[in-house]
């Protein structure tokens, strides 16, 4: 068997085509240098199966294998799935710490401490007002000031309590918005299911749908911030995605996904939101502690105030921060146990002496506790962010596009293309010699 005259042209053509494909891929990489979740792609080139040529003369050995040029076997994306798993696990932790830090920061702002308008200062004003009443028990303006100061204190307590409740309801609302109909979870699940279908079609005909895979990984990254995500790869290229303890995306399901479901083990942002919204979560715990402070205040003040004639200063039923109410008025205010003498002031003295007592101390310790919780969660968030960042850097190091590298590739493949073209020109001129110049002796 001898070699076809034109086989060299085919080799050159394959070279041209392979270099062109590599150039196109380089262009694709450069174009997507800043695309989120994009993994750079490389062209895998291998040699074509060689053509075995028997030796022309049996005396001279066993013939040769003639190389038939290059073949592009696949275009693959460069990605480390182990880093993806690490990224998603850290992203879940980050989602958790970040939601927690946000909500606690909101709770911290509710206290408005240290400031001239916080409960601490208003408590102090309340004691000051009692002292002023003690100085001038029959001065109507001192009484009015006292009732006002008590009212301001009550509304400050109510406002802190309200803000704390709002922190919890905000968390619940956010949770509902994310998990609700056409929320983030559902929309991502739907897209994942669609991608699964497209990917399985491509995989069935032996193609690697790199860009679809990138999109699916990017969606899974985003999903992992919301809750614990674990991915099982199926033989047909589809992914089965467990989300927060339940199976969210499953190619065998009706639409490829199942939602809504009750998450058994959320973790991530959803887990944090669920914890924040719960009656045992931090916001409601703070509110409970604040209610305790108010109950103590009501009890202490009423115990003293009722010594005169059994009437109370604060409504004894309002022992929570949002229900604190002043029932004494400046007209019927009593300042001492001896209600027959205008200057009797032992009650005013005793209430003014509550300053710096258990109520103040409990409140200060509550504020300090909130402060240190916020500080902890901020630190936690910072740590998670830097962990997430370092994994993202490692991922980008593997899958990211380096323009210098692509430029180098561009030149390399351009030269390869030029060289293949030159081979073709050379063969052409060789054939020219063979076809047009050979056998013309007699002409």
């Amino acid at each position: 068997m001898s070699l076809s005259t034109f086989s060299g042209l085919q080799v050159a053509l394959r070279g041209l085509m392979a270099q062109q494909m590599a150039l196109d891929t380089t262009g694709h990489n450069i174009a997507n240098a800043n695309t989120l979740g994009y993994s750079r792609q490389t062209v895998d080139m291998t040699t074509m199966p060689a053509l075995t040529l028997p030796s022309i003369s049996g005396n001279n050995g066993n013939g040769v294998q003639l190389g038939m040029g290059v073949d592009v076997t696949q275009i693959q994306r460069v990605r480390d799935s182990f880093l993806d798993i690490q990224y998603r696990s850290e992203n879940m932790q980050y989602g958790d710490s970040s939601a927690r830090a946000d909500a606690l920061g909101q709770a911290e702002l509710a206290f408005d401490e240290p400031s001239e308008t916080g409960v601490n200062q208003l408590l102090s004003n309340f004691y000051d007002a009692w002292s002023a009443v003690q100085h001038a028990p029959n001065d109507p303006s001192a009484r009015t000031t006292l009732i006002r100061a008590a009212g301001t204190l009550a509304s400050a307590f109510a406002s802190v309590s309200d803000q704390l409740t709002r922190t919890a309801t905000d968390a619940q609302e956010q949770y509902d918005a994310i998990t609700g109909p056409s929320g983030d979870v559902e929309s991502m699940a739907k897209q994942l299911a669609q991608l699964n279908t497209a990917i399985s079609h491509a995989t069935a005909v032996g193609q690697a749908p790199n860009d679809l895979l990138d999109q699916r990984d990017e969606l899974l990254d985003r999903l992992s911030g919301l809750a614990q995500v674990s991915v099982t790869q199926n033989r047909d290229g589809t992914d089965t995605v467990d989300f927060g303890g339940v199976t969210l995306v499953d190619p065998r399901a009706a639409n490829g996904y199942t939602w809504p479901q009750t998450l058994t083990n959320p973790g991530g942002q959803l887990g944090a939101l669920q914890a924040l919204a719960s009656p045992t979560g931090p916001a409601m715990t703070y509110k409970g502690r604040l209610d305790g402070v108010v109950a103590e205040l009501v009890r202490n003040v009423n115990d003293i105030y009722s010594r005169a004639d059994g009437r109370n200063f604060f409504d004894p039923a309002g022992t929570t921060a949002d229900a604190l109410a002043v029932i004494a008025t400046d007209a019927n205010l009593v300042t001492g146990t001896d209600t027959t003498s205008a200057g009797s002031d032992d009650i005013a003295t005793a209430i003014a002496a509550l300053r710096g007592g258990q109520v103040d101390r409990n409140y200060a310790s509550l504020v300090a506790e909130v402060g240190s919780d916020v500080k902890d969660s901020d630190n936690q968030q910072r740590i998670q962010l830097s962990l997430l960042d370092s994994i993202e850097q490692r991922r980008l190091s593997v899958q990211g596009v380096a323009t210098d590298e692509e430029m180098t590739n561009l030149i390399q493949f351009q030269r390869g293309y030029q060289a293949s073209a030159r081979v073709m020109t050379t063969l052409d001129s060789m054939l020219d010699t063979l076809i047009n110049r050979t056998g013309t002796t007699g002409l």
């Binding site: 911290e108 240290p114 200057g343 002496a353 916020v374 901020d378 960042d389 380096a402 430029m407």
Partner: protein
């Protein structure tokens, strides 16, 4: 491990560093503009509760100081009134001695008796002195004058008015004036207190009872004066306690203010230095970022 450095990595690194710098700068900026190093509890949880405690203490000291000032003014008003009463006793004593001499004429005795009656009025006036709208000698019945014109009965009560001058420390600011002035002559024959004595002196002057004037009246007047002096001494002693308490509160306030400032105020030179350092770091990060991102192989390809 040798890392491939990709374009996005450099961009992310630069952004992260710049963000970190800006975050620090903004914290320092808040500290500089508020002058406080604690702007929310999480800045320093322990410091916050310490600051709140100190602020509470400080408010307390201010309140005690105001109580002391009020009490001192009250005591000063009492002292002035008591001093006026002392003058009344002096004058009554002179009149009693003059009236007690046998050479005194009935007319001069009657004039002296008139003046004694006037002096009782003055005495009541002094006793009815008010401070900030309150009768200071009425005990806790501060809305009623201790003595009326109609009779000599004490109209107040003997309850104490107190001012808190320190945690748990109360000081009486009123004195029991009825222990000096008494209730006059109801029930008869009287309680030997100042008003009763003066009424008797007036009667003795009119009746020309020189023996009584020289003897029992003068003696009773002396013991009344002793009682007044005792009360004045008590007021003086309490004023002294107020002054001591005031000075103590001033130094406590100063200490607490200093501690509070140490706890929550920003250390200005330190903050400024930090800000300058951080600002320089930010500039450098910007410069470095510009230098790293700018050049690429593209610049060198024709």
């Amino acid at each position: 491990m040798t890392m491939r450095i990709t374009t996005q990595m450099s961009a992310r690194t630069i952004l992260r560093d710049l963000n970190g710098n800006l975050d620090n700068l903004s914290n320092l900026q808040v500290q500089m503009s508020t002058g406080m190093q604690i702007n929310k509890p999480s800045d320093d949880p322990y410091g916050t509760s310490r600051a709140m405690e100190l602020r509470g203490e400080l408010n307390g000291f201010q309140q005690y100081t105001s109580n002391v000032n009020d009490g001192t003014a009250w005591l000063n008003a009492s002292d002035t009134a008591l001093s006026g009463m002392g003058d009344v006793i002096q004058r009554a004593r002179e009149l009693t001695i003059e009236g007690g001499t046998d050479s005194a004429s009935p007319q001069s005795r009657s004039a002296a008796a008139d003046e004694i009656d006037q002096l009782i009025g003055t005495l009541k006036q002094e006793a009815n002195v008010q401070y900030a709208g309150s009768f200071i000698f009425s005990g806790t019945a501060i809305d009623r004058p201790p003595y009326g014109d109609a009779n000599d009965a004490f109209g107040g009560n003997t309850n104490a008015m107190q001012r808190e001058i320190g945690p748990g420390t109360n000081l009486d600011v009123n004195v029991d004036i009825s222990s000096v002035l008494g209730n006059g002559q109801t029930p008869a024959p009287g309680d030997d207190k100042l008003i009763d004595t003066l009424r008797d002196i007036s009667a003795d002057l009119r009746s020309g009872n020189g023996d009584a004037l020289r003897g029992t009246d003068l003696n009773r007047l002396d013991s009344n004066q002793d009682a007044l002096i005792a009360v004045r001494a008590e007021v003086g002693a309490r004023t002294n306690r107020m002054t001591v308490a005031y000075n103590r509160l001033q130094s406590l306030t100063l200490n607490a203010t200093r501690l509070l400032s140490d706890t929550e105020d920003a250390d200005t030179p330190q903050t400024l230095t930090d800000y300058t350092t951080e600002s320089a770091a930010y500039q450098m990060a910007l410069k470095a970022g510009a230098n790293v991102i700018q050049p690429s192989l593209l610049d060198f390809l024709s």
